[in-house]
């Protein structure tokens, strides 16, 4: 009998820890992101803007380099957090949810301007495979989203 893990509430330390574990256990991410953040700041700040389904904004900081995640933590999203991140990806929560549930491609959201990028957009696009793998692993965390 297959064990189905219990969904983890989105936005909690447990969810962030599960994501870190998922990234470090993913051969897809390890290979696709082998060159990500090597010699440059590959840390990401994912900004989930409040909308109908999310009462207050959330910010997830990911410390990423060479196919490994060494820190995943929900933070306040201050200027300091943004400064520590090489890139900030900002979108309404409902769009993030569409991406994580595979209804929308992250690349499409970025390329059509629906997701805002702070940082070197070209570098982000160049590593399309790393970002696709990151999104896949993130979307694979068993999640209970706020309704």
């Amino acid at each position: 009998m297959t064990h189905v893990p219990d969904p983890i509430p989105f936005g909690t330390p447990a969810w962030a820890a599960a994501l870190r574990e998922g990234l470090n256990g993913s051969s897809e991410y390890r290979n696709a992101a082998a060159k990500w953040g090597v010699g440059w700041n590959g840390n990401l700040l994912l900004a989930f803007e409040a909308d109908g389904a999310l009462a207050a904004p959330l910010h997830l900081f990911l410390e990423l380099a060479a196919g490994r995640c060494t820190r995943a933590e929900f933070v306040g999203g201050s200027g300091r957090d943004r400064a520590e991140a090489g890139f900030t990806l900002r979108a309404p929560f409902s769009l993030w949810r569409d991406i994580l549930e595979r209804r929308v491609l992250a690349a499409t959201a970025i390329l059509t301007g629906k997701m805002k990028v702070e940082g070197d957009r070209l570098a982000l696009l160049r590593h399309a495979g790393a970002n696709r793998a990151l999104i896949h692993v993130t979307g694979s965390v068993p999640t209970r989203f706020p309704s």
Binding site: S27, E28, N31, A32, L105, A107, T108, L111, T112, R121, L122, L125, R126, H127, A128, G129, R132, A133, I135, H136, S140
Partner: protein, 471 residues
């Protein structure tokens, strides 16, 4: 018998067919993405037939779409309830002037027929497309690119003059120095302002033989450095390159396992030469740094021009010719071309290239004067094309990947080449043409005031009939 058909038939020498008599293959094009039936199919025999048909369509409030060999992939070369003018019936190679180095050809002539006629004279058009089974009028309408474009620009740059029937039914001769606004609106103008009926093409003398060096690179950046070196060296007459996958196994991409490949970069460099005076191989290849020098091939020049025919035959015999062809081609700035390759190739499944391939073509921006062949600023450019043949049932699966590749190419400063699969929003069309958007619209208003020509693709006007997806 249809009243409309009878009325038009009385005015022209060519054939006119009702919707019910339109062959099914003329309700779609090489893309097999859209299917739509014209109300009338017209096969003109003369330029006067074209003029009369345009005037007829205008008077009856019908749209008029033009079709050459039907090699387009988006909503071009087909008609949704209007008149489809199939130009293949106006396809003669007329006069060749050996001294002035020009050839007069009807718009529906195939480039292959032009080459065949010129072969005994030791002449050829400076630029030839890889596929010679496409028409002169068709490729001039999208620009026309080939393996000598790095030197001679587009086929549209190698035209002395064009006879055109404008959308208001006037027959006009135009060229780079005569009615030039019309000329540069027709070249790469997607059939929006007029119908080409005849072209006077520039020719060049060719040497009888070619030698092609088949070099292979295992690194995109080194390949691009050498491609630039080869262009700048002036040593070569033709330059062609591909990206070629060597399947290695399977890996997860977005959680689904798919075949992945190590990519290599074949680089084919060709020189023409006279019998008894073979090229100095070592001198020609000096300074190039391929992973391997695979093969050196000598061919009669006319055979070199049709070198890909066996490949096309293979695709036809394999059945992939009838698949969906959603070709994503873009002209990239030199600086970002490697980034685009980095972004796309690692996760591109080699299987998408069964019956297709990936083209790379180094180019020089200043080689073309075409106003509507949009390209990035800068002298050194790289064309990149994913040219797949997709079984129709897999099109929905493949489409997001090609859409993403298209958007990536644009985000990295590229411009799409418009003969392939293009689905732009109006805003994206404006962005594509940039400063040429308003002049293009002005030409449309001037030469096609009733907006009858080739609707359904570039939205220069508000009339844009919906197309029915075929796949």
């Amino acid at each position: 018998m249809s009243g409309l058909r009878d009325q038009l038939k009385r005015q022209i020498e060519g054939a006119v067919r009702d919707a019910g008599a339109v062959p099914v293959e003329r309700t779609t094009n090489f893309g097999h993405l859209f299917r739509s039936a014209p109300r009338l199919l017209v096969e003109p025999r003369t330029a006067e037939d074209v003029r009369a048909t345009v005037q007829f369509a205008r008077a009856k409030g019908l749209t008029l779409s033009t079709r050459g060999a039907g090699h387009s992939q988006s909503h071009l070369g087909i008609s949704d309830g209007g008149v489809l003018l199939a130009m293949g019936s106006l396809g003669r190679v007329l006069e060749v002037d050996d001294r002035a180095l020009t050839a007069d050809v009807e718009a529906g002539a195939l480039w292959g027929d032009v080459v065949a006629r010129l072969k005994p004279l030791g002449l050829a058009p400076p630029v030839l497309t890889n596929n010679l089974n496409v028409t002169v009028g068709g490729t001039l309408s999208v620009a026309g690119i080939g393996v000598a474009s790095f030197r001679y620009g587009t086929q549209g740059d190698q035209v002395v003059s064009l006879d055109v029937v404008t959308g208001d039914g006037e027959a006009v001769t135009c060229g780079p120095d005569r009615n030039e606004d019309l000329f540069w609106s027709v070249v790469a103008g997607l059939g929006q302002v007029g119908v080409i009926t005849r072209a006077r093409l520039k020719l060049r003398r060719v040497k009888p033989l070619t030698r092609t060096y088949y070099l292979l690179y295992d690194d995109a950046r080194r390949f691009l450095e050498d491609a630039r070196f080869a262009m700048d060296s002036g040593r070569f007459d033709h330059i062609e390159s591909w990206a070629s996958p060597s399947p290695q196994g399977t890996k997860p991409v977005g959680g689904r396992r798919q075949v992945f490949a190590r990519w290599f970069f074949p680089f084919h460099l060709t020189v023409e030469f006279d019998p008894g005076a073979p090229p100095d191989d070592a001198a020609l290849l000096d300074g190039l740094r391929p992973y391997e020098n695979l093969y050196t091939d000598d061919l009669p020049t006319a055979e070199f021009f049709s070198r890909l025919e066996p490949v096309f035959d293979l695709w036809k015999r394999g059945g992939t010719w009838e698949h969906v062809h959603a070709w994503m081609e873009a002209v990239m700035p030199w600086e970002t071309a490697p980034d685009l390759l980095d972004a796309i190739l690692p996760d591109l499944p080699p299987s998408i290239l069964v019956g297709g391939h990936i083209l790379l073509w180094p180019a020089k921006g200043s080689a073309s004067r075409s106003r509507l062949f949009m390209r990035p600023p800068g002298e050194n450019l790289v064309g990149f094309g994913i040219l797949p043949a997709i079984p129709p049932k897999y099109w929905p699966e493949a489409r997001p990947m090609l859409d993403t590749a298209s958007r990536l190419s644009i985000a990295m400063g590229g411009k799409r080449y418009l003969s392939g699969y293009v689905e732009f929003t109006e805003e994206e069309w404006r962005e594509h043409f940039g400063p040429m958007w308003e002049p293009f619209r002005a030409s449309k208003r001037r030469f096609d005031p009733d907006v009858i020509l080739n609707p359904g693709f570039v939205p220069l006007d508000e009339r844009r009939p919906a197309a029915s997806p075929a796949a």
